[in-house]
């Protein structure tokens, strides 16, 4: 089936799956899961270097920036200023200017601070960043982020790491319907059917970390997610049948023996 390539910030990707690198046992497992997922875009976090212990390995020794589009995030930032500083530092690492913007508003839910996210997005777009913002499943916030010049909007399906799946499919459908930039579901996915559902709705892509890294078999779940993205996307393109309350027979009504 013919599909258009996944365009993001002027680049095209074959895979519509973006994966995170948090919560894995070690870098070897991270690499194996990323490979199994088929993802071409990989998120990372920016953190202070451990000054006293320099023996630690570097994540980029396992996830080659020449092979993958590295997508630094601003996880843990609670103000626009912190997020902007983090993005500027990330760009200096030499992996390009695509960033996942998140400005957290609340520690328990990890829901975004919508106003601060929009404020940071405006500054970062002006500075030439390709901004992919994590945001609530709020159609108005998504519109404002698109107007601010973000390359995509990334509404959450459910709280980060919750595995609850798509809590508000109707909001998500509205966001997709009105979208002028790609819509990437970010956060809250639990298993493959959640992923397939998002793609069936017409989401352009999906970002997954916890559901893969936290699975009993992360490599197995990475493969399942890859297939779910493909199945969901194909079902979207193929066009599902209308939902009806009553049955419609699939076998001919006539010619039944009596």
């Amino acid at each position: 089936m013919h599909d258009t390539p996944f365009e993001l910030g002027g680049r095209t990707f074959r895979s519509r799956l973006i994966v995170g690198t948090g919560k894995y046992r070690d870098f070897a497992e991270t690499r194996a899961a990323v490979e199994a997922s088929g993802a071409e875009i990989v998120t990372v976090a920016v953190r202070r270097v451990n000054i006293s212990d320099r023996t630690k390995e570097n994540l980029l020794d396992y996830i080659d920036p020449k092979r993958y589009q590295i997508l630094p995030n601003t996880a843990g930032c609670y103000t626009a200023e912190e997020a902007i500083r983090t993005c500027r530092l990330a760009r200096e690492m030499g992996v390009g200017n695509m960033i996942k913007l998140e400005v957290i508003g609340d520690q328990r839910t990890l829901f975004p601070d919508v106003a601060a996210t929009i404020e940071a997005a405006r500054v970062l777009v002006k500075e030439g960043f390709i901004v992919l913002p994590y945001i609530t499943d709020d159609p108005v916030a998504c519109l404002k982020l698109a107007e601010a010049g973000c390359a995509a909007v990334m509404p959450l399906a459910a709280p980060i790491g919750s595995g609850l799946g798509i809590r508000n499919p109707y909001n998500l459908r509205i966001i997709i319907e009105q979208a002028t930039v790609p819509v990437i579901v970010d956060a809250g996915v639990g298993t493959a059917s959640d992923t397939a559902e998002a793609l069936e709705f017409g989401c352009d892509g999906i970002l997954i970390n916890s559901a893969i890294a936290g699975a009993k078999d992360p490599i197995g779940m990475a493969t399942a997610m890859k297939l779910a993205v493909e199945a969901g996307r194909m079902a979207f393109l193929a066009g599902r049948i209308e939902q009806r309350l009553y049955a419609t027979a699939s076998s001919p009504l006539g010619g039944v023996i009596r």
């Binding site: 998120t43 990372v44 202070r48 270097v49 200023e81 970390n209």
Partner: protein, 86 residues
């Protein structure tokens, strides 16, 4: 930097520093000995410039300026790299 001006080394930073020869390195006091550039500092720490990024007083130091950028007592220096994240 426009809207987010640099710290000038005064105020809250000094409250964490016990000697006048110290900087705040990744949030912890660090003793300076003589004039240090960013390149000197990361060399002394055994780090390679390729995989890190450096900020002095909340302004990123471009890699091309590591050899010339001097660090002064009271400076707030952040050195970061990438870790696993989602």
């Amino acid at each position: 930097m426009g809207r987010f001006p640099n710290l000038d080394g005064s105020g809250f930073l000094h409250s964490r520093l016990v000697s006048t020869n110290q900087i705040l390195l990744n949030g912890e006091p660090y003793e300076l000995t003589g004039n240090l550039t960013v390149a000197d500092l990361i060399g002394r720490l055994g780090m390679k410039p390729a995989r890190i990024a450096v900020e002095v007083n909340q302004v990123v130091t471009p890699k091309a300026e590591y050899a010339s950028k001097l660090i002064a007592a009271g400076d707030q220096v952040e050195i970061v790299d990438f870790v696993g994240g989602g």
